[in-house]
Amino acid sequence: MILAKTGNEALALAMKHINPDVVAAYPITPSTEIVQIFSTYVADGAVDSEFVAVESEHSAMAACIGAAASGCRTMTATASQGLALMHEMLFIAGGLRLPIVMSVASRALSSPLNIHGDHSDSLASRDSGWLQFFCETVQEGYDTLIQAVKIAERASLPAICAIDGFILSHCLERIETFEEKDVRDWLGPYRASYDLLDLKKPILVGPATLQDYYYEFKRGQIEGMNRALPVIEEVQAEFRKRFGRGYDVVEEYRTEDAEAVLFLMGSACGTVREAVDALRLAGKKVGMVKLRVYRPWPHQLLKPLLQRFKAVGVLDRADTVSSWGGHLFTELSSTLYDAPQRPKLLSYVYGLGGKEFTPEDAAGIFAEVLSGSKPEMVTYVGVRS
């Protein structure tokens, strides 16, 4: 069905089509409308989900952990300070390998207070053991949330599906949705790997493990993330086969003979496409590499792909506040360190707190990347100075 939907509406609709067993969420700001819209589906009897309205995001994730540990397909949604308040619980979900799926309308973190879109909240959660998907469009958000459920359950890892706050969460877009029945059939029922209430085979979930076992459990968790990339590729292929459209972990745009590319995630990829098209008309050999999966970090794919280019401009919509640029820049530069051929890497931070990022900004970056050098180590695009 072709519909006009905001990112929030589209992700809530995806949740309706998924029909999770339990949704536990904090229903008001900083959460977006996703939870509010989903709660109307619950009230109308359009889903079978148990909806738990809790008193904080910390409690929301705690309730999700309980639900997922007892074998329920569990989802939630949050943003910004809400995700920050969940922080402690994110690690527990990760360590317990519970396939909770959460949509995040990625937004800035206080202080100063700001409600608009950047990647600070999601990226601050990067070491919590969650899969992380960043979407370019509302359509991709709808599709990715559905995929994330299957990926999370097959990989036994929790997953964040991020859409850029306001830029996608509150903007209307034409999307094509699937039949509810088809989504539910494709996902199938969730079968947890253990039964919490089997009296004949009792288990203990979340034990204390000290010097004797903690490290060994962590090593297993790391292995789960190591093995997640093929699972993602497998589910993406299944999705494409079933629904006739799909995505890759890393996507290229007009890179065939490109000398300079920009490397980034999220909605700004659309802006960069505009700039690439305009520059291509002017005969410039430029392209874009879009990262869709941030965790696991797909180093196996990035290393061979990016060493083809002379120069790569790395665009971060968050900063590590370390004086060494953003997350993508630091991780990509370490990925390429021992590559036989290393492109020149140029670091750009842009769009913090929802600051507008235009095709002209992208064109200006391309001019520098084509030249292979720039005056500062990290460039803060669009900041008044």
């Binding site: 317990l96 253990y194 085979k201 203990l204 979930v205 493990t209 060994e216 459990f217």
Partner: protein, 96 residues
């Protein structure tokens, strides 16, 4: 102590499937106070058994038969839930 398992041998997620591991982990040494159970006062109402977070109330032939000090952490819940008229459990300082 059983042989320590390799990481590859552990279940997915922080789960203990082998309940012997829990039995081996004797938590009684954590106590700073110990509950002392008075057999003559006890009416076997099971309230302490119901509330004990460490399953340390011993039951024999359907009756409360004492406290398992291997696992009792000395939290004092049993003493506080024991009915006021009965007071069969009192807390005492743990002797070193």
């Amino acid at each position: 102590m059983a042989r320590l398992k390799k990481w590859q041998e552990l279940p997915c997620g922080a789960i203990i499937e082998d309940m012997e591991a829990v039995r081996e982990n004797k938590t009684g040494a954590w106590r700073s106070e110990r509950p002392v159970w008075n057999k003559d006062k006890c009416i076997s109402c099971y309230t302490c058994w119901l509330y004990c977070p460490d399953a340390a109330i011993v039951i024999n032939d359907g009756k409360v038969a004492g406290i398992n000090y291997d696992y009792c952490k000395g939290c004092g819940i049993c003493a506080s839930v024991c009915p006021k008229k009965v007071q069969a459990i009192t807390m005492e300082k743990e002797r070193k």
